[in-house]
């Protein structure tokens, strides 16, 4: 089930990126970022009312400070991806983001001491090859389009 969540996360992350980009074209990046957090906060609050507990707040006292930075990092992502997609195609943007994501995730797992079975490592390598094959094909077909027009 958790694998399904990870896959859905792929869909929603691209979809929200495109939504934000479209919205920023209409009302500007700052306004669209603000609206993005307002609607997100409303949704999150409903979710908390339905499933959360007030006692959850007590965990904040022991939390590592890096936990607080999420909102700020998120804003950077919303802001910069809206900015990039307006100027570079979705697929090129995605490819570069993938590279940044992968390098960072290897580093994080390494420091968290997470080990992978040989089969999982093979799977990871296949996914990476697949990503670049896809993007290479996209890159070529789009270059051809651009030259033709």
């Amino acid at each position: 089930m958790v694998y399904v969540f990870a896959l859905l996360m792929g869909f929603t992350s691209i979809f929200s990126m495109v939504q934000n980009s479209a919205l920023s074209k209409k009302i500007g990046l700052v306004n669209s970022s603000l609206l993005n957090y307002v609607t997100g906060l409303i949704t999150a609050t409903i979710f908390f009312v339905l499933t959360g507990k007030l006692s959850d707040f007590s965990g904040l006292s022991t939390m590592h400070f890096f936990g607080y930075l999420g909102g700020a990092i998120g804003l950077f992502i919303v802001f910069s991806s809206g900015f990039i997609v307006k100027n570079v195609s979705v697929i090129i943007t995605s490819m570069l983001m993938y590279t940044g994501q992968m390098i960072t995730s290897f580093v994080i797992d390494y420091f968290r001491g997470i080990n992978f079975s040989p089969v999982k490592i093979l799977g990871i390598i296949l996914v990476i090859i697949g990503i670049y094959v896809n993007n290479y094909i996209d890159f070529r077909s789009k270059n051809k389009d651009a030259k033709a027009s």
Binding site: A6, G10, T12, L23, L60, Y68, I92, M102, T104
Partner: protein, 151 residues
């Protein structure tokens, strides 16, 4: 490709894209740390409160004028709702699977989503028809994900 930007500008956007990718992973890590401390529901609320706070600072510091939301497609207006689900799914996956496997499966989802958006030009994005050669890449990714799940 983009023809109206000069080379330096395009490279700058590409470097920014690389950093944004890195930031996505750091965001997932940050959210997972908070989620481990206070639980998923509260973590997502606080995450959005902090983000909103930053956005307000940005709004004030850039003296941006609010714009009317009339005549804007409701799907665009609800980007934050989609974002909420991204954080929710990310926190659950990261805790159970770690960063690399979460991202590998997420990327497979992203390729499928972005190919679909490119092919149909969904939400006003430019249309790039799906090339059948891409099935090779998608096949490799799905095979990889299968091995990750089974391995």
């Amino acid at each position: 490709m983009v023809l109206y930007l000069n080379k330096e500008e395009v490279i700058m956007y590409k470097i920014l894209a690389l950093f944004t990718g890195s930031a996505i992973t750091l965001l997932v890590l940050s959210n997972a740390i908070m989620s481990a401390s206070v639980g998923n529901p509260l973590a997502i609320v606080l995450n959005h409160v902090i983000g909103l706070f930053c956005a307000v600072i940005l709004l004030v510091s850039t003296a941006t004028k609010p714009k009317s939301l009339k005549n804007i497609n409701i799907v665009y207006l609800l980007s934050g709702v989609t974002g909420f689900f991204t954080v929710l799914f990310a926190n659950i996956s990261f805790m159970e699977l770690g960063a690399t496997i979460t991202l590998m499966i997420m990327m497979t989802g992203q390729i499928i989503a972005s190919s679909t958006i490119d092919h149909f030009g969904i939400l006003g994005m430019e249309k790039y028809p799906f090339s059948k050669y891409k099935l090779l890449g998608i096949f490799l990714m799905l095979l990889g994900v299968s091995l990750i799940i089974l391995g």
